[in-house]
Symmetry: C2
Subunit: 153 residues, 2 copies
DNA sequence: ACATAATAGTTACATTTGAAACTAATTCAC
DNA sequence: GTGAATTAGTTTCAAATGTAACTATTATGT
């Protein structure tokens, strides 16, 4: 058993590598919709969630996109101000309100989705089809495992 | 050529998946050193860079850990206040200052590194050795490619 | 039925972060 | 050598974010 101190090689350290990869990808994507459409990252994610699963309550949105309720509330407020999202209070439970994209919101969503998918496609060109499937599977396993570790402490 | 609108499935969308994976890993790691040692993510990264490559200028640190100079400046200020980092102005170019961990900083660094490596090891248990090598290689390719795409626009 | 607790969502306050302006020192052009 | 442009790093101000407290409504226990 060696007692030599292990070195932390930041450039090979998985958490660090994941962080900078996610960061550069997120920034690249942000470039596509921030300028032209004036959306923040959180606003775009809310729109993406509503575009796919509406109607959703704010809590549902938060669960979908792993974002706390305050962040969702603020993003929704901004989207409502711009008329991109509509809210309707639930008749049976007036604490809840279901959210959906407005007509304008759907138009914007329909413009952004192809840009986002195109960027994803260009990114995936770094990998062959088989490599892509492999990466997706492995990253899923890492995610599930990271979540377990977090719960376990 | 299909003209059917493609759907954006957030849960399968690579940028989104990378984002939440990096986030949960980063938060888990943060739990290890934030409470016990009172460091922010950026402060810890600066310490990690200095622990491995010192002496470095603030700009060098920024390049190593992909962080802008304002963030580095603030992290270093905090670390200096706590006596964890030392600064020495360059004699030949007094704009520059070389940074290194202080004795206290080295002690703290030496305590955190094993915790970080242990977390990484536990995380990697989700994968076999071969899968790990595969994931590392593929994520490297994605990173390089993402950087190229970013430059290209 | 009534008090207590729980849930959905918002608001307020403090901290963090980012962009741009700024200071100081050095290099470059001529 | 002098003025303009660069570079290193800090400060300033505004925007974004997190935590905790808050409002309103519904559910629960007795």
């Amino acid at each position: 058993m060696s007692n030599a101190a292990q070195a932390l090689e930041l450039e090979n350290f998985l958490p660090y590598r994941l962080s900078i990869l996610a960061q550069i990808v997120s920034e690249s994507l942000h470039d596509l919709y921030a300028g032209p459409f004036g959306l923040t990252v959180t606003q775009w994610r809310v729109m993406a969630a509503l575009g796919r699963f509406a109607p959703l309550t704010a809590s549902d949105v938060g669960q979908r996109i792993v974002m706390d309720k305050v962040a969702v509330s603020r993003a929704v407020a901004g989207l409502m101000t711009r008329g991109l999202v509509e809210r309707a209070t639930d008749r049976n439970d007036r604490r809840r309100a279901s959210l959906r994209l407005s007509a304008r919101g759907r138009v914007m969503h329909a413009r952004i989705v192809p840009l986002a998918l195109d960027y994803e496609a260009r990114l995936y060109k770094a990998l062959s089809d088989e490599e892509r499937r492999s990466f997706d599977a492995l990253s899923d396993r890492l995610f599930s495992h990271a979540r377990q570790l977090r719960r376990a402490g």
